[in-house]
């Protein structure tokens, strides 16, 4: 059947020859090799099992996602996790032990569908075990690599005034020039409509250069309502960037520990481990299993059905769930991950994370709460 016939739409899809690559959307061959190996979804050179390797598992659902130990549990203690046992176990592990155990679990692989599948990643994400490992590993990295110029800048900035920050932080100093308080940003802002939030007032407070007022602002919920959509930047008649000012104020609030005074601010501890933990361990901001079903009942029954069989459904459309490769759900190569981690260290993020961790622990201690329960409580 000529391609021309198909192009002119004179035939039905069921009559098309099955090997016409473009009909089914398979990957084109270049230099005699498939550009992406559709069976394995790996680039040439990625780690892959030998051609004749037999599948070690029929389906990833054979390997349970949950582990009964409390340091792998994603539940708070009022849902049955033994917080004391968990804390005792984690505190008794040395740095080396916890780090080695984590990577040993992470890198364990089985052959599934002609490629390597890493079954333990789904057990490790967003657990007390991973958070403790991250904390210890980052402390070791700080000792090993020392401080970069940017880290020193952030450490100094931590102790300086808020007004100094607004005049010197890379984002804040380019974000606004001459706000005339017209209120167009507030009129267009989606957050202003649903929250008690007013970007015009925020800009006024920042421009007033009044240290006390700014500190009060940083301790309040106000700056955490912004949706970072950029509508204010589009609408501002003077080319200011209110949402970048908010972003800068949020960082300052965390550096100084003022974020724990507000309900929305203290959620940053979760943010640090959710997005930060994903970056540190998986090289992505959101891991495909982060949309845990109990927290996403608003996503409907079709989502629930998909959530129960993620690996299989991913593989069907050509993804790489917890597998090597470049498609959705992939496990990033360890060398790439190392580069990303070094960049984040050199960029000064550890200073921010240390502050978030420090103030979260202090608040958890004040409330007489285990740090992992604090994670769920906020």
């Amino acid at each position: 059947m000529a391609k021309e016939e198909i192009k002119k739409g004179r035939t039905k899809p069921e009559d098309w020859p099955q090997d016409v690559y473009w009909k089914s959307g398979t990957y084109r061959e270049r230099d005699g090799k498939a550009s992406l190996d559709p069976a394995r979804q790996c680039y040439p050179g990625q780690p892959s099992p030998p051609e004749d390797a037999v599948d070690e598992i029929d389906s990833p659902s054979e390997i349970p996602e949950e582990d009964l130990e409390p340091w792998f549990s994603r539940e708070p203690s009022w849902h049955g996790r033994d917080a004391e046992k968990c804390r005792q176990y984690l505190d008794n592990l040395s740095d080396e032990e916890i780090i080695n155990e984590y990577y040993k679990l992470r890198d364990e692989k089985v052959v599934w569908g002609g490629a390597y599948y890493y079954p333990n990643i789904k057990k490790l994400f967003l657990t007390p075990f991973e958070r403790e490992k991250d904390r210890r590993e980052i402390a070791l990295w700080q000792k090993k690599y020392g401080k970069s110029e940017t880290e020193e800048w952030y450490e100094e900035a931590r102790d300086k005034s808020c007004v100094w920050w607004i005049e010197n932080h890379l984002v804040a100093k380019h974000a606004f020039n001459s706000c005339m308080s017209c209120g167009t940003c507030t009129a267009a802002c989606p957050a202003a409509e649903f929250y008690d939030y007013n970007p015009r007032l925020v800009m006024e407070i920042v421009q007033s250069r009044d240290e006390e007022k700014i500190v009060e602002l940083l301790k309040s919920d106000t700056i955490w309502y912004c949706a970072q959509c950029g509508t204010c930047k589009l609408r501002c008649p003077r080319g200011n960037n209110p949402f970048a000012v908010i972003s800068s104020l949020r960082q300052l609030s965390q550096l100084k520990g003022y974020h724990v005074y507000s309900t929305h601010g203290r959620q940053q501890y979760v943010g640090r481990h959710l997005w930060g933990g994903n970056y540190w361990n998986r090289g992505c901001s959101i891991y495909f299993r982060n949309t845990l079903l109990p927290f996403h009942l608003d996503f409907g029954p079709r989502f629930a059905r998909y959530a129960l069989n993620k690996d299989e459904m991913y593989r069907r459309v050509g993804g790489c769930p917890d597998m090597d490769g470049s498609m959705p759900g992939r496990k990033v190569h360890p060398d790439t991950l190392h580069q990303l981690r070094r960049l984040w260290q050199v960029g000064g993020t550890f200073v921010l994370w240390d502050q978030i961790e420090k103030y979260a622990r202090e608040q958890a201690k004040e409330e007489n709460m285990d740090i992992d329960d604090y994670f769920y409580k906020i």
Partner: protein, 387 residues
């Protein structure tokens, strides 16, 4: 029926009130021309699309191969792509320097592979790459500082990329070619020949951050998605909250206690677009895709009103119109709002019994109540019988 309702929106406006010249209005977006190169893209994947709609993301390299485009298919394994750190930056868990360094590394990887165009699949990425690029222009000495830090951390060098495009720009550029050479279906209702009414929802960070330099059509009249709808036979809808944010809001949607804000924003858009009876929504932002789709279920549970307008990404739309398998390739089973009613309207055949199968066609385990609920979702209000 009231005669007013039978006119198209443009016809009504010009006939009744002469508020604007339709042709001039159609061409306003041309003021904001964006240079999109023909070939040679360094493709960067999206995190959020991988989480919610893996079929959509896997379709991007398929589309690129179909159009015979040169993209980065031959990378060495140790230089693979990472996330741009956009969500961490807008979630305020990393510093601007870390984000600058992460994007610089990606640019370095692209330049090593010989590409001067960065093509990103995610709109947050697009925003972050654009913002970083802009900061180098605004702050003197920043490039030298980042050069030094990048060399210190991972021994790489980088230059500012010549072009930063979004994958929807690429598909926009090739939309007529896709239509003429590969598409067998169009956005036309099979029975009546009526062009389907589509809502174009462009991600905020695509057209609002740098409307003049980076978006095709500017902040207000963004043409990237409505151009695709029009080229593929449909009709775009203009409605009051057209450029309203979907409400994803980074920390607002991803931290469960805050997600009411997202639902409220989606509701505002739904209420505004409902009188114009759209047949589908097309998005280019993965975040918008997830929340416009998912929060329609939340609105049903909270308000009792089923809007259930199918939300598709532009590559899913392209794939479906070319006749690619809806479940094996495009992945419409991942949608909360069922897309099957739209396929019925266009006349695309599909076998619904294949929707929830595994990779080798095996049935996946499921509770009976859940199976019934998934089949019923989205059909009850429109009176469509269950299969």
């Amino acid at each position: 029926m009231d005669e007013r309702q039978m006119l198209s929106q443009d016809e009504y406006m010009t006939r009744q009130t002469n508020i604007y010249n339709v042709e001039a209005r159609e061409n306003i977006w041309r003021r904001y021309i964006k240079e999109i190169p023909e070939d040679g893209y360094f493709l960067l994947p999206s995190c959020v699309l991988a989480v919610g709609y893996p079929g959509s993301e896997a379709t991007i390299p398929r589309l690129f191969d179909l159009l015979d485009l040169d993209w980065n298919w031959n990378l060495k394994p140790e230089s693979m792509c990472t996330c741009c750190s956009g969500i961490a930056y807008h979630g305020d868990v990393d510093t601007i320097e870390s984000t600058l360094l992460t994007t610089a590394r990606l640019w370095s990887v692209a330049q090593e592979a010989g590409y001067e165009t960065i093509a990103v699949a995610c709109v947050t990425s697009f925003g972050v790459h654009s913002e970083c690029f802009d900061l180098y222009r605004e702050e003197t000495g920043l490039k030298q500082k980042i050069d030094k830090l990048l060399m210190e951390a991972c021994g790489r060098k980088f230059e500012l990329p010549r072009y930063i495009v979004h994958v929807s720009d690429v598909i926009y550029k090739h939309r007529l070619r896709l239509r003429d050479e590969f598409m067998t279906y169009q956005l036309i209702e099979k029975e009546t020949g009526r062009p389907l009414r589509g809502v174009d929802h462009v991600g905020c960070h695509y057209n609002k951050l740098f409307p003049l330099e980076r978006s095709l059509g500017g902040g207000e009249y963004c043409e990237v998605l409505s151009g695709m709808i029009k080229a593929w036979g449909g009709k775009e809808i203009d409605y009051p909250e057209r450029r309203h944010c979907c409400g994803m809001g980074f920390r607002q949607c991803m931290l469960t206690p805050n997600r009411g804000f997202t639902a409220a924003s989606v509701n505002k858009k739904m209420v505004s677009m409902d009188p114009f009876e759209p047949d589908f929504i097309v998005t280019n932002c993965p975040g918008c895709q997830v929340y416009l789709d998912k929060e329609q279920w939340a609105i049903k549970e909270l308000k009792g009103k089923e809007y259930f307008i199918p939300v598709l990404t532009y590559m899913e739309l392209a794939g479906l119109l070319m006749g690619w398998d809806p479940y094996d390739i495009v992945g419409i089973q991942f949608h909360t709002v069922p897309v099957e009613p739209l396929l019925d309207k266009i006349g695309i055949p599909y076998d619904e019994s294949r929707s929830w199968l595994g990779k080798d066609g095996q049935t996946l385990p499921c509770l009976d109540e859940l199976r019934e609920a998934t089949l019923a979702a989205g059909r009850t209000m429109r009176g469509i019988p269950l299969p």
